[in-house]
Symmetry: C2
Subunit: 191 residues, 2 copies
Amino acid sequence: MYSALMSTADRLVESTRELLWERGYVGTSPKAILERAGAGQGSMYHHFKGKPDLALAAIRRTAEDVRATAEGVLGGPGTPYERIEAYLLRERDVLRGCPIGRLTMDPEVIASDELRAPVDETLDAVRELIAGIVEEGKEQGLFGPALDGEEIAATVLATVQGGYVLARASGSPAAFDAGVRGLLSLLAPPA
Amino acid sequence: MYSALMSTADRLVESTRELLWERGYVGTSPKAILERAGAGQGSMYHHFKGKPDLALAAIRRTAEDVRATAEGVLGGPGTPYERIEAYLLRERDVLRGCPIGRLTMDPEVIASDELRAPVDETLDAVRELIAGIVEEGKEQGLFGPALDGEEIAATVLATVQGGYVLARASGSPAAFDAGVRGLLSLLAPPA
DNA sequence: GTCTATATAAGGATAGAC
DNA sequence: GTCTATCCTTATATAGAC
């Protein structure tokens, strides 16, 4: 239930965002959305064409958030190594996982080009950001010339996304942290 | 639909395994299982207590498979680096993802200690195998002494699990392969 | 814009015949 | 052991009143 200061349409989008994060697309029903938003059937079908339309609005908003957060951390101060380190070590609600990455395990999201697009674009954008930082680090001699920016970026992002998997399996953030520390030890510039 | 040589109970477990892989627990209905197995309602509730019971049997079988495959590759010939490389490069149906790892995004699996247990145990067992191999490699001077076996193992497993996420987002295995190559370039023993 | 019917299908399970 | 019939709830959507 949200502030009365939010419009009904916004409350619907917000509760959909939460439920998509917690339960995915197939696990989220219009009924659950309406209850959480404190709205009735009529409101939802007035503002949105149906569940897919509402989900698309929710996913787009979440995609913007995730992207902005990554840009904020990766665009911060410090050496290329430090910026990647900051991205890997930033505060995360590890056991909740990534609200965008988790959607890739949803069959209906993957089956729909429209729903998948914002997911793909977000992960791709973050990957490109990291790739650029790695290339910058190579120029500065921080990373070996044998490393490929695109590849390392994929490794960094995969370690994060896979870290969520390991953490949720064990019910503890420890495995996420271990994976990140392992990656940082591999990336660390020679002392 | 399966061979008539399989028992009804086995056909039910097999079709459940497939559906859990494709659609997860919340996305899999008894009806869909029955149709794929070519069985009726009665058979399912005769052999299993219900959906959670059948899913548990299916998850346990898949967990055994995944574990055996990993043990096979990681226990093969070669140096520690080569065995980890073999694990990372082995043939995978990348776009289908990991049948065990994908379950961690399922709210009902995570909410049930019984369903989550085989998932946790499987990923943990593979992690321990890799950790032992890394420690072995350190003794042989293949990996730097600054690396921690448990941490690197978590990184390796996370790269694989996260690689599936990136691949499914983009609809192509390329990102998985890139992440793996990036990790291998970081792990590579100095020439 | 929002609410309350109402509708059809699917989810999940039980009962009892064969 | 398997099948069909039946049950209650939820999923998703439409219709029409206010």
